[in-house]
Symmetry: C2
Subunit: 879 residues, 2 copies
């Protein structure tokens, strides 16, 4: 068994054996980069160590052998008082576990070698290095409490009357070295080992030991990392950028990480160490100036940067150090970038022939694409965040506070930017919402009225921000000790849930040509169709612009909630007889028809899936609690009996319709069964609109969707009714339109009996919001505000199942349903319309289990297109 | 293809070919009973008829052949004016479709043969027969409107000034015959066929045609009877019991159908037809008197009855007719009987060696056993039913109306029988409920507080009777135009939901020795263990008496609702800090411990499954609507601010805990995760009680059940906590008790991921109430009051899935869960504790899919034992 690999013996594929860091150092060494010499002790040795409880026999001999190689290459010698080699010892597991295990720097220093270093690099530098070694070694290897060293330093600064470590004079560091040695002695009853080889042995053992320290164990458990994976140990020559004016250190991106521009981007400091760049005490210079300071080094760096990009085929984020006019590359990794930069870099690299279109597509983080589609808060702005609510609808908005929909409408129409602030919104608020920049509510979850309406409109919304105490009478918001009034400026970020005091600068979204091209590439590769959830012609048009290939879900209830219709809908609900109800429905018919007419027109040539009425009827009636209180007050005040009677009439109906669990109540197809006239009116509106357009030469493809089917008989009967209405309308209109009938699959029972249901369905659309609620027994609104946060924090669940599909539960039910359905009806079209349909991981899952389409809100269509392409590409690659 | 079977050519197994009636007539003929001669035209001919649209060629020749056989045997001749044979033509499908198809009697009569019949049996009889033939033939065969004949009869009675048909003189019947012939002629433009063979042909064709009449088609669709099954046609010689004093007719059971006593039981009438017995105009004589009237006939009948019992191995219900001292058996079928009779007959027949124990067990309708365990309303009582609610808890009760729990307690303790009438009950009412005879509520479903508590106590309850307007202030109940007051007598039947005005006589339940023996036999055969759902020592003792083999579900929340504890529970919930909450829990600990102590003691040696707290905490707090109204009123009245503040403090907590869908909310294990101290207190109470009993030498077998697990991590963590508490208690007490930890499986996700969950579970208990709610997306309380009735009426579902397990949906999820669980944990114990666990069809399903036990309310334990035995026996028989 080979226990030790020199950096030039390994490569990037050997992560399991060498750990992530070791494999990368080896890779860089092998492509000829000037990496400080070193070697890696394998993860297998870690397992040996765990089994034996000590380092295996002979290991240190092999380490010495490897050290000799470093010594040769560096021309320095470990422990040599005249020309000492210093090394670092670092852990490096196959899977990154940031901060979990230990590092020791400057090994090789002792009372002798520190003197040589002092001669070469100055006393302050040398003794600072030494005291750092003592401190790290003391803590990590010998188990001394960290605060013992820290308080010694604090005391020292106090004694010398300075603020920072760097202000201490050399003498102080020399004193600290002696004090630290005493601390170690006192705490452990042992001396700090002066023998560099002993230092090295103890440091290696300490790193292996740290694999099983409690926080590393907990971290592995939470992240499902196997305990027997083990860590590797990297031993590497130290290099110093603070050896004088011929030395320096810096970081650079091979391209601009903000814009993607193909130009070296970074900064450096002469005579400094890496931490000085980060600390921000001295202002670093832009990388371009290195060309003047050290032209040959700059040239070398430029070439290395190009080489690295070519090798890794991606933008790199490189750390480097110059020690005495010698350039060392310490680390390179894929550079983090903004969404805009990601798009530009991916596009450019295809043009440069560096990567393929497939690779370019895989480079885009689909979630980040959101940034490109919505206004954002300028990342450079300083924000006064006063509260955080739920990120209910992405994008940022800034405006003056208003408390009523009427005020929002009035001021909004007058051109004033306003944010509508409500405890929660209702259908009566719509006219105010449309004129606002954004909506902020103190109650309600991600599926509250405000959230759903705002997402549909692509308007920012923060909901359920319960830190805000809203007083609608006084027109004030109280947050902690702040009180905001109507007209005060406020800003919200619907992507993060932040509520910000005052006006903030916003960045407008841009759909660059590069981005459009990449979206076109996505269509070349993806197999999934991407549709949209849209209830209005405006949303539909927006989605079509973003490349939606149809409507996957058009909810009709939002149409019922429009201000001019709600009274008629209420009339329909309050009807005591079928005849009364039909009279009200007759009034709704032309309105629904024109709704569908407009949407069909916008979506010409593409399928439009219309879901018949779904929510329980009490959602359209006044709130029962308010009614009860109103009536009690009217009684107390001795109001006229007629007034009380009228309220009580409404109350009676509301009470009759009230439900313990509306989610599981009288809704969906259950309404269709009990009030068939409602569905018949809707079907008539659909077919009349379709016929009219067909006569106008417009190609319409209606899909009629029956919600909440649990039992095939429900669909069988509703299908019969829909077909009957279609026949009637076609006869009346003298024209026929092709259409399909199907169902939303949103109950576990529908999945389990999908073979029966599929006999009556041309399509299935997985309604994974409700399917998740019933499968998990989670009421979304209740769960998100209450225990869900704790579940996420305690890692009982990894993601909210309402954001990322629950693959193990809901996903398995979907698979069962698809297999059963396709067995009896191979031509059935199967899609998803839950909110997860626009979430990349979920889109990939949908691709893998063989769905025909995903459907999501208009602004998530580009995200879904990219995610769908990535899924197809990954599958092709066998990933 | 043989198209026609003489009765002596068929047998009981040929139902598909001969229909039910035809096969039975053949069977009786073959065992030598004096059945009127006849033959059956097969169901295959019906299919031929449907295909051809006419009778197949040659059929009538075969019919004539068969008729010749009847003529020979009877010595009469079809259409012979001197000695005419009359026949009936009846439909008879393989599956009974009562009233759906047609029958024609007295075929063979015409203007000539009627005269011969008049000579033999009198004019009135003969012309009455003839007009019946005309009427039936006119309606069924020739399609004349029924009311044409009816109005002619009405007119005739009016003309002769009589009330009933029977009072009409012979002349009137003769006139009617002529009028009926005219009616037929006028309506159809055809004469009534005088040729008996033409009558027969047309009648046969009419019966085949009736297979496809609209009501038969609808009936088949609703009952899933295939359309191509077809009906057979039975042609049979007419016999008449009204040929004079040597004739008669009657019905008799071979044993007493009310008590099961082994003695002929029935009645007869001399010179009468079957319909006279039914009509009740003349009073029939008891069958025993036939011995005096016609000793030889009586003797023959007694022998036949014995023969039939022996042949069919069950009590028979026999129709017979005596025509001129010749006995004919018209029909025999298994006799309907009371539950008590069923038990006695089954027991006796085993003793008589007639049937085996297995057969005896299969004879008991497990559902009917309910009657034997509860008081019942005397079936002979005349009832004034004023409303019907939900049959929430079986048994009947009668008492005086009271409107408050306090009144119920006071009067009940004073020995007055009272019925507690509330809009709905709350935990505060318990002290009144226990002193009542029964509970009646106007709101709430089968799982409302009143229903659950009453079922546990075996006390009658009718819930959700919304026809009752209850005024708690005036202390009145208004139903329609009736107003009842406090103290009025009222009765309820919790098995049917009936509410009855006044006092009614009740029958006390008896557990006969025969019944106890049969229950013992059940244990010999059943494989399923039968446990009980019980929350109190009383219920547990009752269940044990009924043979429960353990507790399958002990709900702890009901303990929390006791009057003396609720304030402490509320204190625990209102706590602002963990410390405050723990203080309140400390007070609850000794109470819980004594709960468990008592139950463990009663259940010594048997497993006791205790479910940790399940319901959302707001269920223990005051109603939010009442609070809101109270506060509004206090404000209006200018009440002191402190009083308002106190209410608002409670309101705030109630609002914070309020949920949109409590069923899917913050409950079950989610409470355990967020408030671990609650579950820890309960676990401690369980283990402390168990240790105490162990020290007293009592064998306890506790099972700790974690409710509502959706994700294995929930169970994993709770199991850890429970084990930790157990260890602590065992250390403190110096004694160890064996126990198990498991979970209720009540969410679809738990079923789908059962393999993961089973790794942490010693047992699974299917909570099929909630599992049905989530699988079906039905909120039980909402569905039962609203659309469920319509779903049942329209046959979208056959049974409420809360009563009979939904085999296709919930049942399939159970199967998936069991397979997955046993794959990883073969020793896991799996049971069911939903209410379906005591329903016979569901028990059979549970047996077939391999559950280890079912658990049900104490009074359903005997039902479940019999059902479990039946399931095992049927399985062994390959049924």
């Amino acid at each position: 068994m080979k226990r030790i690999y020199l950096f030039n013996e390994g490569n990037a594929t050997m992560k399991n054996l060498l750990g992530g860091k070791g494999a990368n150092l080896a890779e860089m060494t092998n492509i000829g980069l000037p990496v400080p010499q070193g070697f890696t002790i394998t993860t297998e040795v870690c397992r040996e160590y765990s089994d034996l409880g000590r380092l295996p026999d002979g290991l240190m001999e092999e380490v010495k052998e490897a050290m000799r190689y470093i010594e040769e290459k560096s021309g320095k010698k470990f422990g040599d008082p005249t020309n000492p080699l210093l090394v670092s010892v670092r852990s490096g597991a196959p899977i990154s576990m940031p901060g979990m295990m230990d590092t020791i720097l400057n090994l090789g220093l002792n009372d002798e070698t520190v003197k040589t270093l002092a001669e070469k690099a100055g006393e302050k530098f040398a003794y600072d290095c030494y005291r750092r070694l003592l401190q790290m070694f003391g803590e990590v290897v010998m188990g001394v409490e960290a605060n013992e060293f820290e308080s010694a330093i604090q005391k020292k600064k106090h004694d010398y009357g300075v603020e920072t470590d760097q202000e201490l004079p050399p003498k102080a560091f020399m004193e600290l070295v002696e004090e630290f040695k005493s601390i170690i002695k006192n705490a452990t009853n042992k001396e700090f080992p002066q023998d560099p080889n002993e230092q090295l042995r103890m440091a290696i053992e300490a790193v292996f030991r740290s694999w099983n320290n409690p926080r590393a164990k907990v971290y592995r458990k939470l992240n499902n990392i196997p305990d027997d994976m083990g860590t590797a140990v990297n031993v590497q020559m130290m290099v110093f950028g603070n050896f004088g004016d011929n030395s320096g250190t810096g970081v650079a991106f091979t391209r601009n990480p903000a814009t993607g521009e193909n130009k070296l981007y970074g900064e450096y400091l002469i005579n400094a160490q890496g931490e000085d760049v980060v600390a921000g005490i001295r202002t670093p210079k832009p990388i371009s100036e290195l060309e003047k300071d050290m032209p040959e080094i700059y040239q070398q760096f430029v070439e290395i940067a190009k080489k690295l990009e070519k090798h890794y085929k991606d933008m790199q984020d490189i750390e480097f150090t110059i020690e005495n006019r010698k350039l060392y590359i310490l680390q390179t990794r894929t550079g983090k970038r903004t969404a805009a930069a990601a798009v530009k870099v991916a596009y450019d690299m295809v043009q440069e022939g560096l990567i393929t279109k497939e690779e370019a597509l895989l480079r885009i983080d689909p979630d980040s694409v959101n940034q490109l589609l919505h206004r954002q808060i300028d990342p450079n702005a300083k924000l006064d965040v006063i509260a955080t609510g739920l990120p209910a609808s992405p994008g940022a908005a800034t405006g003056k506070i208003v408390f009523t929909a009427d005020d929002a409408e009035e001021k909004g129409k007058a051109g004033e930017p306003v944010i509508l602030v409500r405890t929660e919104t209702t259908p009566d608020d719509i006219h105010g919402i449309v004129e606002s920049q954004g909506v902020l509510t103190s109650r309600g979850g991600m599926t509250s009225h405000a959230a759903v309406v705002a997402r549909g409109m692509g308007m920012p919304c923060v909901s359920g921000c319960d830190a805000l105490k809203i007083d609608l009478i006084e027109k004030t918001i109280t947050v902690g000790d702040k009180v905001l009034h109507e007209g005060d400026w406020i800003s919200i970020d619907g992507s993060t849930g932040k509520v910000i005091l005052g006006k903030v600068p916003l960045i407008e979204p841009t759909l660059s040509n590069e981005f459009k091209t990449i979206l076109d590439w996505a269509n070349e590769f993806k197999r999934l169709q991407v549709r949209t959830n849209a209830d209005t012609p405006q949303d539909s048009a927006k989605a079509r612009e973003f490349g939606a290939e149809g409507i996957g879900l058009c909810r009709t209830e939002h149409m019922f909630m429009a201000q001019d219709r709600l009274p008629i809908v209420q009339e329909m609900i309050m009807a005591e007889t079928k005849e009364e109800r039909e009279k009200a429905l007759q009034k709704l018919l032309p309105m629904q028809r024109s709704d569908f007419y407009e949407i069909f027109k916008v979506m010409e040539g593409l399928p439009v899936n219309i879901r018949l009425l779904d929510p329980p009827l009490h959602e359209f009636l006044p709130n029962i609690k308010e009614l009860l209180v109103d009536i009690a007050i009217l009684r107390e005040r001795g109001a006229p009996q007629e007034e009380i009677d009228e309220k009580e009439r409404i109350l009676k109906k509301v009470q009759a319709l009230e439900e313990m669990n509306p989610m599981l109540g009288h809704r969906g197809v259950r309404l269709g069964i009990t009030y068939p006239e409602i569905y018949e009116m809707q079907a008539r509106a659909i077919f009349e609109a379709a016929c009219q357009l067909k006569k106008e030469g417009v190609n319409v493809i209606p899909e009629v969707e029956i919600p909440l089917v649990a039992n095939y008989k429900e669909l069988e009967r509703m299908r019969e009714r829909v077909e009957k209405v279609a026949e009637q309308v076609f006869n009346e209109q003298g024209v026929t339109v092709e259409y399909t009938v199907g169902t939303m699959i949103e109950l576990p029972r529908a999945c389990i009996t999908a073979d029966e249901i599929a006999k009556y369905a041309d399509f299935f659309s997985f309604g994974t919001n409700d399917l998740t609620q019933t499968t998990y027994g989670f009421s979304r609104d209740d769960a998100e505000g209450k225990f869900m946060q704790q579940y996420l924090a305690e890692k009982i669940i990894k993601y909210s199942p309402f954001v990322v599909l629950d693959f193990d539960g809901v996903g398995q039910l979907m698979k069962i349903a698809m297999e059963k359905a396709r067995n009896v009806n191979p031509d059935i079209i199967i899609g998803i319309c839950g909110e997860q349909g626009g979430e990349p991981k979920s889109v990939e899952f949908c691709h893998r289990i063989g769905l025909d389409y995903v459907s999501c809100s208009p602004f998530r269509v580009p995200i879904a297109r990219i995610a769908a392409a990535q899924a197809a590409i990954k599958e092709k690659m066998g990933k």
